[in-house]
Amino acid sequence: MEAAAGGGCGSGPPLLLSEGEQQCYSELFARCAGAAGGGPVSGPPEAGRAVPGAVTAAAGTVADLFRASQLPAETLHQITELCGAKRVGYFGPTQFYIALKLIAAAQSGLPVRIESIKCELPLPRFMMSKTDAEIRFGNPAELHGPKAQIPYSVTEKNTFKRMDDEDKQQETQSPTMSPLASPPSSPPHYQRVPLSHGYSKLRSSTEQMHPAPYEARQPLVQPEGPSSGAPGAKPPRHQASLIRSFSVEREPHDNSSNYPEEPWRITEEQREYYINQFRSLQPDPSSFISGSVAKNFFTKSKLSIPELSYIWELSDADCDGALTLPEFCAAFHLIVARKNGYPLPEGLPPTLQPEYLQAAFPKPKRECTLFDSYSESMPANQQPRDLNRMEKLSIKDMADFPVPAQDVTSDDKQEQNKARLALKSTVDEALPKDMSEDPATKSGLLPPPPALPPRPCPSQSEQASEAEIHPQLNRAPSQAADSSPTKKDTPYSQPPSKPIRRKFRPENSATENQEPSSTVGGPASAATGKPHTAVQKQSSKQKKAIQTAIRKNKEANAVLARLNSELQQQLKEVHQERIALENQLEQLRPVTVL
């Protein structure tokens, strides 16, 4: 660890860093240095010569980091000047630390002066953008070491500023899977990694990993500087806040002792995710999902049909062909586990039994604080927030599902990319678009309640084929229960606008033409939707006409057949009479002839 905190800078005062700050800065520095490849940086060549052995931070990444602190440009310039980087031409450890301290000072509102860094300051805050985070943190799979975990905790803590002491308890039980997640300020990353990597890592090495980071963390915490109880507690609290924010595994301790099968335990966040997915298929959490709906949904996981069949067998405890919420959670969990490489159990594990699930998580609509925290960075609108969350979650899940199986369809990819990039914009677009689209698409999709939300373009092509099937099935306007099955037609990234949809539906249904089976079509524009529906209407009308004609013909056929048989009978009788008469004639004739 670069412990040259105090000495190196020529003009600056001896730098006193608290333990937490020390840790934080060193990680940030390591990260910047690591990102740069550890080499020297832009600057006068003599900089490299001057400090041949020292690690320097790349100016580019440092600049990014500073910009992430969201201070105005002049302030950043001042800071760079003051910390001495301009003078020496590079960002050595001392300069970096001074700069960070100055940033913290500036963020706290203090003037950017050398003197201001002498006092106790909170850690500087960096709002990472998505791309920066990606560049910085690279492939999450590699970040296995404890060192890598800590920067996340730092930034996580910085971003959310949560220090919960009570979580200290939980952290002893919860595994350190959360640190593997990508930076928290970008929810997609957060979700993606836990699901794909964290769980597999988690399952395989829950207990072993846990003590390791703690030990690793200890050496990193330099005992120098003023070490009070608070800074000492900071590292655990880092993790605590991290864990809290990610809300990974929070089972009470006694539960884990009763049920040692960790892979089959559903965590809080998983539970939330499953519940949201359930709601996307069926808005009423106390009701159930029909078999066909669930089948289509789970088929998207790209597991083989026999496996899915077996998973269903395991999870549908009452064998009624429908999944209630706990059954659905169990099934989903089994699928997730299977995707992560776990063999399916012989019987339903006790932690996945419906009774257990219902008892353990009585409130299906538990508000996870995690998502509350995200709302800060999301648009204030409730529904877009849900959409974002769900889209991100579901996108991550979509990313999960194809990635392990390595057969990402182009549709999926396209959808993921589009959804990710245009996330916020589509949210805003989708809402007004829905209004305009509803009249056009609804007529095709389904009569009232269920109408498929015209998802932003890429997903629609996928939905179109599925949508066609369902309009036929779900004709009845009054059946709200059907709304979910059809809603589920859209790929994982569906839900949240459902609630919106339903409000609009009543108005639209009245004006709606109840004709079924109009494909949504590719482009999500009302104009193209209408010609489609018009064409479809005609063809469906024709179909109906043909069907009625067929029916009539059949009836006519039956009538005629009956008539035919009767006439045949009469003909036979007449024939017989004729024969009889001829006979009589024959008998009589010889007499007359003679």
């Binding site: 078999g291 067998e313 062909g321």
Partner: protein
């Protein structure tokens, strides 16, 4: 108690057939196949008018030297055929009926699985285990 259990689809192809491994399986397959004729005969003998009252349990289809074959038909023309050992005289009609009922309920459970397409071979482990429990005692 059963030596061989078979589930035949409406089109008379087997959805599931399993026999206890002591004897030549082919023989049992053949017996089941021939019993289908008897089943069809019994079904058609009921007549169209009696369709509603038709019993699902067909009873003893035909006895052979050392086996007896029992039949059961569902309303969707799926047939269950069971071959039992003749030496097992303790088996009464009611027991056979109850066994068929169990088979039928397991079959409906398999049907409830949305991933099961009617007409596929039955690969449900629950169904397997249920059949095993019925057959285990023989060996």
């Amino acid at each position: 108690m059963a030596v061989c259990v078979a589930v035949i689809a409406k089109e008379n192809y087997p959805l599931y057939i399993r026999s206890s491994p002591t004897e030549n399986e082919l023989k049992f397959h053949y017996m089941v196949h021939t019993s289908l004729d008897v089943v069809d005969e019994k079904i058609s003998a009921m007549g169209k008018a009696l369709v509603d009252q038709r019993e699902l349990y067909l009873g003893l289809l035909y006895p052979t030297e050392d086996h007896k074959v029992y039949g059961y038909v569902t309303n969707s023309k799926v047939k269950f055929v069971m071959v039992v050992d003749s030496s097992n005289t303790a088996l009464r009609d009611n027991e056979i009926r109850s066994m068929f009922r169990k088979l039928h309920s397991s079959y409906t459970d398999v049907m409830c699985n949305p991933f099961y397409n009617p007409g596929d071979r039955i690969q449900s482990r629950a169904f397997d285990s249920m059949v095993t429990s019925m057959m285990v005692q023989v060996c």
